[in-house]
Amino acid sequence: MNLFKKNLMLLYRSFDESLDEKRKHRLEKALEKSSELRKEESYIKSQRNLISNSHSSSFQPSFTEKVIEQINAIESKSNGLDLQLFYDSLVSVFRKVAIAGAIGSIAILLLSPGFNDILRLEAIFGMPDFTLMEILSIF
């Protein structure tokens, strides 16, 4: 990069950062010496002004309302979703409780001493009450 290009880049940077004393001094010297660089400086100022003063575009007057409408739509959608999730989790919890309850009830019934006297296997399945010896004697 030749000296002019180096100084030109320094000139561009000087618009967007505060140069340290050394570089500031170098740029000032270069601007004193080079009319071309001074012309560039003037051009850069014009171009930056031109860009900064353009772009007056703005959104429609109803912009804020449209944003709020979208947010309300999201809110109501998420509320509906929350309710559905609540029902789903409720069903899931009840299913687990029901299964656990059924297993518990059966276990209690089977383990209770009085139950064995009331409901015997031969009564349930219509079979005689075999002893172990009787079963073995069959074979």
Binding site: R13, S46, Q47, L50, I51, S54, Q60
Partner: protein
């Protein structure tokens, strides 16, 4: 949603008196009016950013709306490490860059000219005198088309630094890039713009309008 009595405040005021934090907290708790104030406060800046990045097209306003919707969705996670303005503009820039990528993909399949996006709509307005409006339109048109010809990474630094007026440091924060990269992109972008704008500036055809 609750409605408190927040009024519109300017960006500087927000930064100075912590009103911004108060508004964000209220919006986070479901106060629609607080969020409305945030939208109204940053609407112009978001408009300048997305119009600068995408030109004057129908989807530009949609990107603007999406910016605020995304901000609303991220309110719960917003840690106030940067100002709301910086955060919102970062969303706007990212959405604009995504849109530019989409346009690029579309242009691959369909004949789509990016240049068209930067052509201003000349809406007749009887309240403006005829001697100034064509010049202003011409000015905007040329500058927008010139910016529209830049690569998105150069375009974003020009929009943030020169159109939105953010400092170099803020521009670096928004784009999440080192300051050195921002400075070099700014210099290169301005050199590219010079090739397009120089004939207008040197002849004084446009610059005379800016001075007024």
């Amino acid at each position: 949603m609750k409605n408190n009595s927040f009024t519109k405040v300017d960006t500087e005021e927000l930064k100075l008196d912590n009103k911004e934090l108060e508004l964000i907290e209220a919006a986070r708790n479901g106060d629609q009016n607080a969020f409305r104030v945030i939208v109204e406060t940053y609407e112009r800046k978001v408009a300048a950013t997305v119009f600068g990045m995408l030109g004057n097209r129908s989807e530009t306003e949609d990107i603007g709306q999406e910016t605020f919707v995304r901000f609303y969705k991220s309110l719960k996670h917003f840690k106030c490490e940067s100002t709301a303005g910086t955060y919102i503009i970062r969303i706007a820039i990212n959405l604009s860059l995504n849109e530019l990528k989409r346009r690029k993909r579309r242009s691959f399949f369909f004949h789509y000219s990016e240049k068209n996006a930067f052509e201003l709509e000349n809406v007749p307005d009887n309240t403006i005198t005829p001697d100034c409006i064509p010049e202003k339109d011409e000015l905007n048109n040329v500058v927008q088309q010139a910016i529209g010809q830049l690569n998105p990474k150069f375009r974003s630094v020009i929009v943030l630094r020169l159109i939105d007026g953010y400092s170099t440091q803020e521009t670096a924060e928004i784009l999440n890039l080192p300051i050195g990269t921002i400075l070099s992109r700014l210099a290169r972008a301005q050199l590219k713009l010079k090739k397009i704008l120089e004939p207008y500036i040197v002849s004084g055809n446009l610059y005379k309008n800016v001075k007024r």
